[in-house]
Symmetry: C2
């Protein structure tokens, strides 16, 4: 098994209790009570309603200077105080994937400030991005992003999402679901 693989298992089990499931665009995802995050070759919980899988990977757009800024400021998932989380499965349309690398970078950062916006919320909001588009199976989403943060940063997280969704990059998003959770 790829050690960078993570499975998000939606059902009745897992430490994350789902508080809301909101369809932002496109087809909804069946709401579940709980989500378990399973890494690599760990056993999957039984009786799942759905399993979304993705792998962490190399950065696709980040420059050398941006990578340094991010690594200086970002936190890892799993801090004790980070009892709130969100899982955001997202798909981009065929027009996005047909763009050249420089055109995608330009939309992503020069027009939409994806990295600059994310930086403003570090280290409060931790995130981990998983890629699904290049798995062997046909996956329902291209990306799964998992975020965690403390209760006090919940409003900041809403602001972060609102800022990102205003960008030109988001015009290429054709399916997005926002799942919010709290930890037992």
């Amino acid at each position: 098994m790829n050690p960078r693989l993570f499975s998000f298992v939606g059902g009745a089990k897992g430490p994350w209790q789902v508080t809301s499931t909101r369809t932002i665009v496109g087809e909804p995802l069946t709401p579940v009570e709980r989500i378990a995050v399973v890494s690599g070759d760990q056993a999957l919980p039984s009786h799942a309603k759905w399993i979304l899988r993705g792998v962490t990977s190399n950065e696709r757009y980040t420059t050398h200077a941006e990578k340094r800024q991010l690594s200086e400021r970002q936190a890892s998932l799993g801090r004790t105080e980070a009892r709130h989380a969100a899982l955001i499965p997202l798909r981009k349309n065929a027009a996005w994937w047909a763009l050249s690398q420089d055109d995608r970078r330009s939309l992503f950062e020069e027009h939409s400030k994806h990295i600059a916006i994310g930086l403003k919320y570090l280290p409060a909001i931790a995130r981990r991005l998983h890629h699904c588009r290049d798995l062997a199976e046909q996956e329902p989403f291209d990306f799964l992003t998992f975020f965690d943060f403390a209760d006090v940063d919940s409003v900041a997280f809403d602001e972060l999402l609102a800022e990102l969704r205003k960008g030109a990059e988001w015009e290429f998003v054709d399916r997005e679901v926002e799942i919010r959770m709290i930890r037992d």
Copy 2:
């Protein structure tokens, strides 16, 4: 199944007869007599010695201008006269994958002229790149490139490989095997 998935099945079956298997760097791959190229959900031949899998995907480094030049000049695999082929499974080291996008682009093209070299050999040498690094399974290679060309272009293909392997990008390659084939 992902419609962009291809499986390269090495064994005693398939239309491509292997004429040589050469280890360029790193661990060898078990030599086989024949290779079958299987797309998406087609049935895999039985009794394979190995199966290498990868998905075609969006371009990672190509600019808008380069993409236009490539699409104007490149041919698809499978031309009647293209009776020669090569499968080159290749892996890059951890240092490559830890680089930022702009540093990888700079090594790939500004220093190593990967795209510019490939362009010189179009349309004679057709190629299709498959990505394996972000599959759910732990794969032995990061990329599988399949090339086909006519007998008359065999020397040009050798030159193309020699030129690419001289570049700074190739210093990050830690496993590479070159399998040459002819079609029945």
